[in-house]
């Protein structure tokens, strides 16, 4: 009897706790999702409707795509978008070449001074970007590379951390494969492209995705190095739109622009969800 009462009480407690847990999780999910919902909702309201709502409504009965048209015509959102795509692709591609070559050298080739250089590389990981931005800004300015893609891209094509990540992964490939390839007479470069890169594809994809996210959201460097709107990336574009774009009050159009900017990464995330989350937990921090 006593046992049963205790059991029943325990079961009740467990149920209450579970309900509370789900409520708590749902609450935070709303906090996370609400801004996304709000930007989507606002972007679908017409300018007039939005501004006439002193108490904003949580739905709209007359959605309009006018704001999206405005976003692409009134301000050069398409331009920003294209710039960001070019910047992201070029930076990521160059970064992959540089880091893969370096990681290959560290993991597979034997040469004098390797350990010393690697230690120096690791030491560079401690250096915050804020410290070197100042001189880089001067360098690029003095070289006359402001408002060029070259100036945007060059400083961010190496990442010691990704070199390190790739090197660790490359080193897991057994030596026998390398010896076998040598016996078969393939060159180092051929071994790298035909054996190592295919085997390490998961890590390379991880690095690529992380870099794409980083590029897409980069703000500080592009802001320093571009003041010609023709070279703005989306982050700078959105800041420009906010300050001088549609006129400060055309919030629906602004939200449309925000949606357009946010969608590519969200889609990318939903497709590669597992990979991205695994990759970030292995080697990502925000910013």
């Amino acid at each position: 009897m006593d046992n049963q009462r205790i059991e029943a009480a325990a079961a009740r407690r467990a149920r209450t706790l579970r309900t509370a847990t789900y409520l708590f999780l749902a609450l935070w999910a709303i906090v996370v999702l609400f801004p996304f919902y709000w930007m989507l909702l606002s972007s679908l309201k017409s300018y007039g409707a939005y501004n006439s709502e002193y108490i904003p409504r949580f739905y709209t009965l007359s959605p309009t795509l006018q704001n999206y048209a405005d976003a692409f015509t009134t301000v050069p959102l398409g331009r920003y978008f294209l710039n960001t795509v070019i910047f992201t692709l070029a930076t990521t591609a160059l970064m992959l070449c540089v880091t893969v070559l370096a990681a290959f050298a560290f993991s597979r080739l034997a040469f004098r001074g390797k350990d010393l250089v690697f230690t120096l590389f690791l030491a560079l990981m401690m250096i915050p970007g804020e410290l070197v931005v100042i001189t880089n800004f001067q360098t690029i300015t003095n070289a006359g590379l402001r408002n060029t893609f070259t100036g945007l891209i060059l400083p961010s094509v190496t990442s010691v951390f990704y070199i390190y990540l790739l090197k660790e992964n490359f080193e897991q490939i057994p030596d026998e494969l390398y010896r076998a390839a040598k016996v078969d007479g393939s060159s180092d470069f051929r071994y790298l492209t035909r054996v190592m890169i295919p085997i390490c594809r998961p890590t390379i994809i991880t690095v690529t995705i992380l870099k794409v996210i980083e590029c897409w959201n980069s703000y500080v460097w592009p802001r320093l190095i571009t003041d010609d709107t023709n070279y703005f990336l989306v982050s700078n574009g959105i800041q420009e739109i906010r300050e001088n774009g549609f006129g400060r009050e055309n919030i629906p159009a602004m939200m449309a622009a925000v949606v357009v900017i946010s969608v590519p990464l969200i889609v990318l995330f939903l497709i590669f969800r597992k990979k991205i989350m695994a990759g970030v937990s292995r080697g990502g921090t925000k910013g």
Partner: protein, 297 residues
């Protein structure tokens, strides 16, 4: 140099060139700048060497404001976000249904553009002639008076900044902590259960020590990240952070370098080095503390 060594260096060459030009050289140069008194981009000249730049920066009201803002931000958001992430991760770990869905949702802010979503936060909190903003309406509903969170009192602006920062940094922390919690072997919990261990004791004596390495990793990176806060503030208050009184140290550095108040790389360098020194000190303290309290396998 033999052929083999040559080849190794050849593969490394691009990395070394880029790192040399954009990491090593700037690192040296930033110290040089910081001691070149009053260097000006426009005239490309300076009038002496010494500690003047540091003295100037440390007396600059804008810098002191930025310092205060940054410290407040760090002190508020690091414990709050870490604690909240731990709570959410524990909740996530205790459920089975809908877990993946929640995890996916919680991760969304990580892949969004900070600047873009910041705008949404701004309109949610902003009070304009047309509307008080959604957040104020909620406050009104509970009987409070409207506050302008974007252009209003300092505490309100700080609140929005902290809220947004927590919103932005949480996904990473939740991700790390959920996988840390999931990697604690079920055997330990079973053993504790057989010994009738109370829940709270299981948490403090087993769970916390087991995830302490990841927890401290998050605290350390959290401190570093929060000290470098900048774009979150820009996202909400716009580029002129000094005017809003919401500048951060990193923001001060960039403002010194560029923009309306820019053209002073020496002051920027001095401020950046001060920031670096602060971050280094805090990180060392963190590491010392962690050595005492963290259990490493």
């Amino acid at each position: 140099m033999n052929n083999r060594s040559f080849k190794g260096w050849l593969y490394l060459l691009p990395a070394i060139l880029f790192l040399g030009a954009f990491m090593v050289y700037p690192l040296v140069d930033v110290f040089v700048y910081s001691f070149e008194e009053g260097y000006n981009s426009a005239s490309q000249s300076f009038f002496g060497t010494g500690l003047y730049n540091y003295r100037y920066v440390l007396r600059d009201e804008y810098f002191l404001q930025a310092l205060k803002n940054t410290f407040l931000l760090v002190i508020i958001t690091v414990p709050l976000s870490t604690g909240l992430a731990l709570l959410i991760s524990l909740a996530l770990n205790s459920i089975k249904k809908l877990r993946e869905l929640f995890q996916t949702i919680y991760f969304l802010p990580y892949v969004t553009n900070t600047l873009a979503v910041g705008l949404v936060f701004m309109i949610l909190f902003k009070k304009t002639a047309y509307t008080d903003g959604l957040v104020n309406l909620v406050i009104n509903f509970f009987g409070g008076a409207s506050v302008d969170f974007i252009d209003g009192p300092y505490w309100a602006k700080m609140f929005v900044l902290c809220f947004y920062t927590v919103w932005v940094v949480l996904p990473f922390k939740i991700l790390i902590l959920t996988s840390a919690l999931a990697s604690v072997r079920q055997d330990f919990y079973n053993a504790a259960r057989l010994d009738a261990t109370p829940k709270w004791r299981v948490f403090t004596r087993i769970t916390l020590p087991m995830i302490s390495p990841q927890l401290f990793y998050l605290i350390i990176t959290g401190f570093i990240g929060a000290f470098k806060a900048y774009s979150d503030a820009v996202a909400i208050f716009g580029t002129d952070l000094n005017a809003a009184g919401m500048n951060t140290i990193v923001g001060y550095v960039y403002d010194m370098l560029y923009g309306n108040s820019g053209g002073w790389p020496s002051f920027a360098s001095a401020a950046a080095i001060i920031l670096f020194a602060i971050v280094l000190t805090i990180t060392c303290i963190n590491l010392l503390v962690s050595r005492k309290h963290v259990y490493y396998v």
